[in-house]
Symmetry: C2
């Protein structure tokens, strides 16, 4: 089995940056936006749809009522496509995969180091400002809380587990407290041990 | 403010051993069973009662119905006593405190590094066998799950938060995956950074 680092993370918590640092430190490929593009190519879904629906759920009800009884919703189709891509990537080589329930998808298919990254609101708001200048400052808290809620609902719907529960991960770190570099160092050291 | 490491942990996950290793590495006092004795001295409750009720709840209903309207239950009295002792210890010096919701109690009273330790069932069963040879092997899983449930209920009742949610802790580690020595090294390195 290949050795895969999965990085689950709160939106704007530094998880993506930590994955990139890890990729450099360990010389491993990192599948993040690259993964998004691969998915887009295979599925026919456009990038924007995947970005919005690929790991966020607007709530269980909308998923249940968005389609008829036996038919798969677009989000479920996308889940299957993502699932297959993640399995293929992990079967091919040691790598880092960010988000998309890779910790759950690969639980019996790779030798995983599952990490979860979170941060305090102040840290996340600074990142959000840089990433999405169109969002109004007074909406930052609401925006981030909505993202958390949608990501948690998505994870729960597709995995049956609780997003962010420490017991699902081999290590979780507060990137607001420690900084991205230190977090990457710790995960790299743990991966080194194997 | 003093710098305090709080170690929350699953029963038999190695949290206590990690706290002792940390205590040696960092030359800090560690309050665990010592803390229990201090509580016992002050409160008049006996050791056995504190061990069973000091961080376990048999369920919210039993707490609600165990006493009349305005009066405090014994468990609530014990909470207040533990709360005061933990605040005094943290006010006196840098230290390590294991369990008893110290992460929550000290959230505005000390400069805390909050860690959570968990482990897989196999690891915990080995510890349980060594610690409590009177428990029957076929009851191990049930015994540990009951402990988890009671600790989670206690934490939730007194703090209003979710026990084991990664977002409450600066670092969480799977001691079954990494071993106690490695976990202590990581927490010591993070404490060193400050």
């Amino acid at each position: 089995m290949n050795r895969v680092i999965t990085i689950s993370r709160q939106y704007c918590s530094g998880g993506g940056a930590i994955a990139k640092l890890l990729s450099e430190k360990l010389s491993l490929p990192c599948y993040d936006s690259v993964l998004l593009e691969k998915i887009a190519e295979k599925s026919g879904f456009d990038h924007e749809y995947i970005r919005e629906e690929g790991e966020y759920s607007r709530g269980i009800l909308s998923m249940i009522f968005s389609h008829g009884g036996g038919e798969l919703s677009n989000q479920e189709k996308l889940w299957i496509i993502q699932h297959n891509i993640i399995c293929k990537l992990a079967a091919k080589e040691d790598c880092i995969i960010v988000g998309r329930c890779a910790d759950y998808i690969l639980r019996e298919k790779a030798d995983c180091l599952n990490a979860f990254i979170h941060a305090d609101m102040e840290f996340r708001k600074e990142k959000l400002q840089a990433r999405s200048p169109e969002v109004k400052k007074e909406k930052f808290t609401q925006f981030l809380k909505k993202k958390d809620k949608a990501r948690a609902a998505y994870y729960s719907y597709f995995t049956g587990m609780t997003w962010g529960d420490a017991r699902h991960y081999h290590v979780t770190l507060d990137a607001g407290k420690w900084g991205e570099e230190k977090c990457a160092e710790i995960i790299a050291a743990l991966y080194g041990k194997g």
